[in-house]
């Protein structure tokens, strides 16, 4: 019997992996996927297909919700020969990226592939994203205004 807490952790890890895959540039993800040489035998249950989501913001940043525009999103659902189902969603229209992300989502639910996927795909993607973000942060930080007070007169 799996405890509620364990289920929660599994869910959180899956979600985190999906976030990494969704945010990854298609080229990076496909490059790592091809290099990892994992079985690509999943059958497509849905998609990959592109559609729209309506984005929501909040009045004043934290108030009542409102719709402020739409974005393209691509999604795919696959099923491994073992019966495990994988899902993927990502902004944009990169169908092959999303199909592969769904296969990865399915494979990482199987203990025999979990480590390989973590080491060969997710960890490098996470590292690259962290680097890109850090570069952006440091470049922005260089434009931070340092105020200094000018004191005039002697008293």
């Amino acid at each position: 019997m799996v405890s509620r807490q364990e289920r929660q952790t599994v869910m959180q890890q899956r979600r985190e992996a999906m976030a990494v895959l969704a945010a990854a540039p298609g080229q990076d993800l496909l490059g790592l996927w091809n290099a990892a040489a994992l079985p690509d035998e999943a059958a497509l249950l849905r998609g990959p297909e592109t559609g729209l989501v309506t984005l929501r913001g909040r009045m004043g940043g934290g108030g009542a919700a409102f719709n402020f525009g739409e974005a393209t999103v691509t999604r795919a659902t696959v099923k491994l020969p073992s019966g495990v189902v994988g899902h993927a969603y990502a902004l944009g229209r990169e169908k092959e990226k999303v199909r592969v992300a769904a296969v990865i989502d399915a494979l990482r639910q199987q203990p025999e592939f979990e480590t390989a996927i973590e080491e060969k795909i997710l960890a490098p993607l996470r590292r690259r994203q962290a680097e890109t973000d850090e570069t952006r942060r440091t470049e922005t930080a260089a434009t931070r205004v340092d105020f200094f007070t000018m004191v005039r007169g002697e008293d």
């Binding site: 869910m11 559609g51 909040r58 009045m59 934290g62 108030g63 402020f68 942060r137 930080a141």
Partner: protein, 369 residues
Amino acid sequence: MYVAVKGGEAAIRNAHTLLADRRRGARDVPALTLEQIAEQLALAVDRVMAEGSLYDTGLAALAVKQARGDMIEAIFLLRAYRTTLPRFGYTRTIDTAAMLVERRISATYKDLPGGQLLGPTFDYTHRLLDPELAEDQEPAAPEARAADHEAMPRVSEILAQEGLIEEDGSLPEEREPGDITREPPEFPMQRDLRLQALSRGDEGFLLALGYSTQRGFGRNHPFAGEIRIGEVEVEIDVPELGFPVPLGRIRVTECQMVNQFKGSMKVPPQFTRGYGLVFGQSERKAMAMALCDRALRAGELGEDITAPAQDEEFVISHSDNVQATGFVEHLKLPHYVDFQAELGLVRQMRREYEERRAGAATERREAAE
């Protein structure tokens, strides 16, 4: 009787071939790639996404290229494209406090947690044309400075601690946010629908209206409380998974306008607020949106409605440049039959007018004799 007239197929076909040729321009000049447009005309792409109301840099770049740089035409193309796609649903609300900030300034607080970050701004440039850009010069690499990962609360949260500023806008708890793309607009309109219309509204129109409030037509004493630009995470709830699914990140510009308010019968003196939220790096648009949002809250705050920017129906009905251009530009289409009818009518009125004049002249002559 109605007589349909056909013709012009060959002319239209040839005009479109000519358009394609002129769009390409001189063949000894290399063709633009979509990557070049998305990277080097990024703010044009942002504007097309914002007013086309579709976040997709590749499609917006294609629209800019296809429209030969005509922004409203590009916006039109993107709007038309979005109608061809199925809808997957509504995202969870974005959290702008958790933004990966690329620019963040406040005109009301000098020292605020997270600091003033200028980012890639045109501000403080001298607006002198730079001949060096005419050449393909490699720009200097950006400076870097250790980032302290300090949290950057929205300025409105800082002001709220004193209780002198109104809270983030609220609507009844049970209200599902309205969607102007699904239901026709009705006036009076709730603020959520207005904000949606303003977010996709024409930048020039909203800028002019915002400016009009500053010049005294519905003055509301604004301060740029905060402007922030950066990337936010997007998530969506889907039935097949028991958790919000991350979709990736989008870049947005948020503007918190803070407005002095002397109070009314309904509301005590305090700072009120206007809000702007726009796709991409679109600072002018976000500011104009916030000014218009505040002006349109006149009724809610018990202010007199005296100026165009405060007139909800006027502002919202005319803010959409795709609708506006459609109606203005349709005047170019053949109106031959309408015009013939009008011509007949004017001829008849003119005849009657001449007859009346002649009759009056005869009467005057007879009276004088």
